[in-house]
């Protein structure tokens, strides 16, 4: 019988959602078998699938769902106790249903399998329940325990916002059902996930809930529906939308933004006051519209994590390991296409972590770790990017083993392998064909692994970092942009043309004049280099690189604009004619005709309707010979750190009093300025400076009397614009030295003392080879 395609598609989507939910709850039930609500959830979800299958005349599907439902109704009724074997048979039932659904999606038919064996197994368990009850007839029925501690169904549930950020596996996602299933098939109201109670692992399982009132499944229906209603969003507020529609809208809005920019530009040159107000309004509305449309494409990372509890359970079981997974920050949002792009790589990382990372229980015991391994998947947003980490507390990477594998696989000669640094060895994990697994299992070990993950992440403009310590564990961090469509970029000019450089690649921007210029730009034999705080960076001239000019004499130019760019761990300097403003650009692909132009990653339309090419920093570096292919292979978008430095773990090191070294937390530094000493003005409240339309209070960090401010640098003063509480403060220092990682063993100074009411030394340690005071300024 021909089914309406629309119905079929909805049916498939709805079944899948139901199955994912069931999987997670079943896995949770294994840990916490007494969870009555969890059972109800599974029962209801399965019931819906059965109902829909019946509606669409899928008899086999209906039958297997029915068999599962019968067993569940016994479990719900408390006539049978949930155990691992039951979990197993139920999970296999879900797999059978999933397989059939896939078959239906592909061919519109149910396929050949009848699942007789599975049905018999289900029936056996169901029957055992009846035996149990008849036997149990003589036993005293446990008294109803209304005081059961977690009583989730009726007890007040914390509202969504009160929930801690952390969720443990064992709880199925509380707000999982994103789209409301349409009422097409569902006779009962659309099912909602009953949240299994939070973090209850440690506690003893809930006493078997009894009873009379609950044996009737319809009853439990109403209870939990009421119970969850308060926190679940109104289901009718969701509609399913074709992603194509959103893409179209996104494009239209992109163009609208550009049209608006053009109008704003024209109007601002005309000085027409009458137009100002409506233009501002247009500006605001467009921005809001753009934001809104962008948000429709954003999805919580949780959507990609939905299957993890089940995956972790299955893999751990197959490997004979114990593992619990903790998911943090599932609310972090990411563009749908980005999320799809990293979903598979992430599963691979999770699989790797369990298969390779976490040790077998007995080994863990010997090492003095808890037998159950811990896997932490965590997402968070930082400086306009989304970071996703997969950490395990397993064995870490074994350098000797990698060394051996690298030699065995012929990637390095034994001599080279002996000399290879740990960083190089860890990097080799990302090379194609690398695997440390001794035998190929069906989980991993085929050597198609990390290099594929790396490629996927790179394709969406992300980076991958690996951090590992022997016997402590491994953390892999993916960093991806929020969205592919809009990228913050720095505009640079070269000849008469403008180019955009993605901000993610820009480390710093320099404008060098006079002596600075002569000192910083030098020739290493015939290669131009930039001397930057003691480091030599290879330098390329963009105009020469692009063939706009054949040569450029740096000595003739009054000022040089130089960008320090990074790709992976490599840094290089790029000389441009002029550095312009930062701008948000909408990336458009260059198309087939220019596909092999590795110097560009796309083009963008600017506000005035002109086109700016977007420079591909890696391509520029490679084609300028700044990176050899080998280096590219190893370093390209892979960063390896022993400790991944974070902003709050880095400090800005400055010099004061001509020789003393001090450090300030980098996270509190807003920006660095060099100003002529004449900029400083005086008010009754102290020294101040005009800064971006504000009056910035200044604070002298030097202890020596300030007779000639900034005498060290010829009338120029270095000011650290510093965020102290809610205010900004300008800290005067002699010289800015560098950014350095905060020492790990930093201990509070025993002599922590106040220099004055505003500033105190909180610690002292050696940084960059010198004793350094760590300051706290308020």
């Amino acid at each position: 019988m021909p089914h309406d395609q629309e119905y079929l598609r909805e049916f498939v989507v709805e079944c899948r959602e139901g199955l994912d939910r069931i999987d997670n709850v079943l896995v949770a039930l294994e840990v916490n078998p007494g969870d009555k609500k969890g059972l109800d959830t599974v029962f209801r979800a399965l019931h819906t699938i059965k109902g829909n299958a019946g509606f669409l005349d899928f008899a086999k599907l209906g039958a297997i769902a029915h068999a599962g439902e019968s067993l569940l109704s016994q479990l719900c009724g408390g006539k049978l106790k949930f155990n691992a074997e039951i979990a197993d048979v139920l999970l296999r039932t879900m797999d059978a249903i999933r397989g059939t659904v896939a078959e239906i999606e592909a061919n519109g038919t149910e396929g050949v399998s009848d699942f007789d064996a599975l049905k018999q197994e289900l029936a056996k368990w169901t029957a055992s329940a009846s035996d149990e009850t008849s036997n149990a007839g003589s036993q005293p029925v446990p008294a109803p325990t209304p005081t059961a501690p977690p009583a989730p169904a009726n007890g007040p549930r914390p509202s969504q916002s009160d929930l801690p950020y952390t969720e443990r596996t064992i709880l199925s996602d509380p707000e999982l059902p994103l789209p409301a299933p349409t009422a097409t098939f569902t006779k009962p109201p659309p099912q909602v996930v009953s949240p299994v109670q939070k973090a209850d692992v440690g506690k003893s399982p809930e006493p078997p809930a009894v009873a009379a009132s609950n044996t009737e499944s319809e009853d439990s229906w109403s209870t939990s529906t009421i119970g969850t209603k308060t926190t679940e969003p109104e289901l009718s507020t969701f509609i399913r939308v074709q992603i194509d529609h959103l893409d179209d809208l996104m494009n239209l809005v992109g163009e609208l933004v550009l049209a608006r920019n053009r109008i704003v530009q024209i109007v601002s040159s005309r000085q027409d006051d009458e137009l100002t107000e409506p233009i501002q309004r247009l500006h605001r509305l467009t921005a809001a519209l753009q934001d809104g449309v962008m948000r429709t494409r954003m999805q919580p990372v949780r959507n990609a994590w939905r299957k993890y509890p089940r995956i972790v359970r299955d893999i751990a079981k197959q490997c004979g390991k114990l593992c619990e997974v903790e998911l943090q920050g599932g609310d972090t949002e990411l563009d749908k296409s980005m999320l799809e792009a990293i979903a598979e790589p992430l599963v691979h990382l999770v699989r790797n972590a369990i298969d390779h990372g976490i040790e077998k229980p007995y080994i863990r015991k010997i090492k003095g770790k808890p037998e159950t391994g811990r896997l932490l998947v965590r997402a968070f947003q930082e400086s306009g990017q989304v970071h996703i980490e997969v950490s395990d507390d397993g064995a870490g990477l074994d350098m000797e083993r990698i060394r051996k594998k690298v030699v065995d696989a012929g990637m390095l000669t034994p001599e080279k392998a002996m000399l290879a640094s740990e960083t190089d060895l860890r990097n080799s994990v990302f090379l194609p064909g690398f695997s440390t697994a001794d035998q190929v299992t069906n989980l991993s070990g085929r050597g198609v692994g990390m290099d594929v993950v790396k490629t996927c992440v790179e394709q969406i403009g992300g980076t991958i970092e690996l951090q590992t310590r022997k016997d402590v564990g491994t953390t892999i961090r993916l960093t991806v942009p929020l969205t592919l469509a809009i990228v913050p970029a720095i505009m640079v000019s070269c000849g008469r043309q403008r180019f955009a450089i993605p901000q993610i690649n820009v480390v710093e921007m320099l404008r060098l004049r006079g002596d600075d210029k002569r000192q910083a730009c030098e020739q290493f034999h015939d290669t131009p280099v930039l001397r930057l705080r003691g480091e030599l960076l290879p330098m390329a001239d963009l105009c020469i690189k692009l063939g706009v000019r054949s040569q450029c004499d740096v000595t003739l130019r009054e000022a040089l604009d130089i960008l320090v760019l990074k790709t992976g761990t490599r840094r290089f300097a790029l000389l441009v004619d002029e550095i312009g403003d930062p701008q948000e650009i909408v990336v458009k692909p260059l198309g087939e005709l220019l596909a092999r132009q590795t110097e560009y990653s796309g083009a963008a339309l600017m506000g005035d309707g002109t086109i700016a090419l977007i420079l591909d920093v890696l391509g520029i570096a490679r084609s300028s010979g700044l990176l050899t292919d080998e280096q590219t292979m190893l370093s390209d978008s892979v960063t390896i750190h022993d400790e991944v430095p974070r902003l709050d773990e880095q400090v800005l090191v400055c010099q004061v009093d001509g020789e003393r070294q001090i450090a300030l937390p980098l996270a509190d530094v807003v920006c660095l300025e060099q100003v002529p000493s004449t900029t400083i003005e005086h008010s009754l409240t102290g020294d101040v400076m005009q800064y971006r339309g504000d009056i910035l209070p200044l604070y002298q960090l030097s202890r020596k009397p300030l007779s000639f401010p900034g005498e060290l640098s010829a009338g120029l003063m270095s000011v650290v614009i510093y965020r102290a509480a809610k205010h900004q403060l300008g800290l005067l220092v002699d010289r800015i030295i560098d950014v350095a990682p905060r020492p790990v063993d930093l201990r509070p100074a025993e002599l922590a003392r106040e220099i004055d009411s505003r500033c105190r030394v909180i610690a002292t340690a050696v940084v960059l080879g010198r004793v350094t005071d760590f300051l706290q300024v308020s």
Binding site: Q497, L546, G547, L605, G609, T610, I611, A612, L613
Partner: protein, 159 residues
């Protein structure tokens, strides 16, 4: 081959004295002078990029493709013939746009065997008009040839 009774509608244009045509169904639209953004280091056939109502369209200079001399500096601004390339658009840069002609298929002849081997595959054939020949572009083949030519690295950087 075309049926004798068929009539084909052809957009015509000129290019360094050549009289060329593209089947009207293959022309997306025709644009007059546009600001051209050059793409440094791109293959010489790529003249640059234009902004067509918010869409970025690559421009191919047909003079380069057909190995004709470069356009004179004082020549009138060239015309963009926008054609489809799969899902994308591409502009073919020509000197001047001509009339749209309805031509009887019996006037059509395939290219002679002796035609220049380098550019022969770009044409489907010619219509014999009273005054001169109208060379008809084989648009899809030509685009494929241009794309693969532009992708080759051999000629990189030559201007």
């Amino acid at each position: 081959m075309l049926n004798m009774s068929d009539v084909e509608t052809i957009c015509t244009f000129t290019l360094d004295g050549l009289f060329l045509g593209i089947s009207v169904g293959e022309v997306h639209e025709v644009l007059l002078a546009q600001t051209l953004t050059p793409v440094p280091l791109a293959h010489p056939v790529v003249a640059g990029l234009i902004n067509m109502r918010g869409q970025i369209v690559p421009v191919v200079d047909l003079r380069r493709v057909l190995r004709l001399p470069a356009r004179a500096d004082d020549a009138p601004p060239p015309v963009h013939v926008i054609v489809r390339n799969g899902h994308d658009l591409m502009s073919l840069l020509v000197d001047q746009f001509g009339d749209v002609l309805e031509l009887e298929a019996r006037l059509f002849t395939p290219p002679p065997d002796t035609a220049n081997a380098d550019t022969k595959h770009l044409f489907r054939g010619a219509y014999q008009l009273p005054l001169k020949l109208l060379l008809v572009f084989d648009t899809q083949h030509a685009i494929e040839a241009i794309v693969s030519q532009a992708g080759s690295k051999v000629l990189r950087g030559v201007t």
